[in-house]
């Protein structure tokens, strides 16, 4: 069941088209990575989905509510963490959450219980009475996340939540997002670094210059973005002869040095790779290593952005 459906969303700022004709469907329970370089339109798209910014054209349905017709109902079914946001620094963590608890019109009798629960969820139970100004950046980010969880929304929109965090805080945040994903929340998380999302996201959409260039599961993304695997080999003997033998195979191309080794793109399957290796061994050229290059989805994504840009 689709929780988010965008219909040709478009947003202009003067002459600049920030988001152009984006059609996107996000299923309930998905952990959706929205990736793209800076200025790709991720924040604008998220703000439109959050019904904070009116589209110039098109619309979106969030949990069945139209962002143009019923923006206030849309607000009720999501939690949004902007890329840059303020906390009321002169309040304590508990006071901050108390304010938003009241603002969300939740049952006052359950206030303390709910605040304790979300603080525990984000690992800030011991900082309950700490003034916000004393919290580290990672803690502030987690307090912001606690705010989004207060009214138990089914959808979380997180705009670059790991931005500016040190590796330790990033890891903690990733663990937190994993646990939220396990609890069944639908999460849309944006980043310009795909690598840090790929191990816990189920789906991925790639934006570039306002346009959606890919949308699908992470597995589909790997297949779609990879466009053929690369193989690396270490040649002990005649490299030129090895190259000629490799490029005789119609599935192989783009032979090039890779440090002290060599690599080439290969579009055949594993059996074809085994056949090629046999040819090389039988021909007598010295091969001490032959393996699939461990390129990540991030490499493929960067390569794809390069293709898009040029």
């Amino acid at each position: 069941m689709a929780l988010i459906e965008t219909h040709s969303l478009r947003r202009e700022f003067g002459d600049t088209v920030a988001v152009d004709d984006v059609k996107l469907t996000i299923e309930k329970g998905a952990v959706f990575a929205l990736v793209g370089p800076n200025g790709a339109g991720k924040t604008t798209l998220l703000r439109m989905i959050a019904a904070l910014l009116e589209p110039t054209a098109g619309t979106a349905l969030i949990g069945g509510f139209d962002i143009i017709e019923s923006p206030r109902l849309v607000h009720g079914c999501l939690g949004y963490l902007p890329d840059f946001f303020g906390l009321y620094d002169d309040l304590t963590a508990r006071e901050y959450l108390t304010y938003f608890y009241l603002a969300y019109r939740l049952n006052p009798d359950l206030l303390e219980q709910r605040i304790d629960s979300v603080l525990f969820q984000v690992g800030l139970s011991d900082r309950r009475e700490a003034p916000i100004e004393t919290l580290s950046r990672g803690m502030r980010q987690r307090l912001g996340l606690a705010r989004t969880l207060l009214h138990e929304p089914q959808l979380l929109l997180l705009d670059e939540p790991a931005s500016g965090l040190d590796p330790g805080a990033r890891h903690e945040l990733q663990e937190l997002l994993r646990s939220l994903a396990r609890s069944g929340k639908t999460i849309v998380v944006s980043s310009h670094i795909l690598a840090e999302l790929e191990d816990y996201c189920s789906h991925v959409a790639i934006l570039n210059r306002g346009r959606l260039v890919f949308s699908g599961t992470v597995k589909e993304a790997r297949l779609s973005l990879a466009k053929g695997k690369r193989y690396r080999l270490r040649v002990l003997g005649d490299a030129a002869k090895t190259r000629d033998l490799v490029l005789l195979d119609p599935s192989a191309k783009d032979w090039r040095p890779d440090g002290a080794e060599w690599s080439f793109e290969f579009s055949g399957d594993d059996a074809a790779a085994a056949s090629l290796l046999k040819v090389l061994v039988d021909s007598g050229v010295g091969i001490s290593m032959f393996c699939e290059a461990a390129g990540t989805i991030q490499d493929s994504y960067l390569a794809m952005l390069g293709r898009e840009t040029h």
Partner: protein, 432 residues
Amino acid sequence: MNAFTRRFPEIERYAMSEARPGRLVTAAVTSLVVGGCLYASTAASSSQDSGGALFGAAFWLQAMILLLYGTSRTTGSVLTERLEKTWDLQRLTPMSSWELSIGKLLGAPILAFYLAALFIPWAAAGLATSSTLPMREVMWDYLLLAGTTFFSLSLGLLVSSHGEGSVGGASAGTAGALMGAFGLSFLGSAMTSTGASKGGTLIPFFGRPCPLEFVILFSAVFFGAWALAGARWRLGRELLEPRRAWRLPAFILSLAAYERALGVPPFMTLIAPGVVMYFAGVLDGAAADRWKAWLAAPPRLWWDRMPSWIGGAAACVCAACVLATLDQGPQTQSSPATVRFYPLILCGFIIRDLAFLQLCRFSKSRSPEVMAMIFIGLAYALPSIVLGAAKASVLLYLFMPAPSESLPILANLAPGWLQAAGVCLLLKNRRG
């Protein structure tokens, strides 16, 4: 926390943030010291009525706290949220524009209210020991202070709600202090007038003689309520609530009615609403994409998305038509037709200017409003200078609402309305 602050969580937040026990105790001790100094100085003065002097000192101290500090707090309220990037988070909550407006109006100056309340005992002591202060005058003083405070705080909130995120905290503070100073001078002149009249001055209001104090109080509450409604309208627009397009037209009509109630002649009545329209046109910020979205909107969203200046201009035209039917009185020696239809002539030029302002928003200028205002200023100044120098002032009616009495009324009406129609036609085609 109580039912009221649960209804308006903003008040609870401001209370948690600003009314901390340490701060409250410090403020109480400070007020004791200041009040003691006031008492000592008034007791030691040569004044015959030291109680009255103490009351006056405490009263004006309260007025300064409420109007200067309180107004600067409401002026900073929304601006600070934008600056600190907390505004979007508030927009996501179910709080309505009404709850946010009241929350900020009463919450942001919460410390000012507390400080002012601390001086009530000193004012009461002055009143109790005064031999000359009439209770009626004291009551009116406080009513005027309450009315002026409401007006000033609402005005601060109105400015704050229309401010952009790029406005710095210092600018907000300056704007707040200026508005507070305006409120203070308004209160001063109101109290001077009412004090001089000693309750005996009656002025015609809606055709009936009314005490001056009442008219001033009514005016403060009337404009305060409209300022609050304007702030709420703007906050509601950002919350993507239905836009209540009737609000600006209603204000324009009620302002015209208010002027008429004070006896302003019909032909001059539309000048103040016209000035308001320029402010509204600039502040509305109906950018080019909003204009295009309005033109492209389906009929059910047409009213909701309409730039507010169009509704205001329509209200001006309605008011002008009504004013043209009224008895113009003996205030002028000009030709009766020119005087009668002057509001309609004025409307043509107002609509031309506002449509031109909208057209400028399609330019590449980063400040289209400033550019438009400069051009509009030149559109009035240049003909005056050139035609004045050429001794052809009789042609001024072509460029500004300065009707020529020797011409028929249609000839006087035509220039403004034709120019307005021309600019509106250009705008109509701006569909993107």
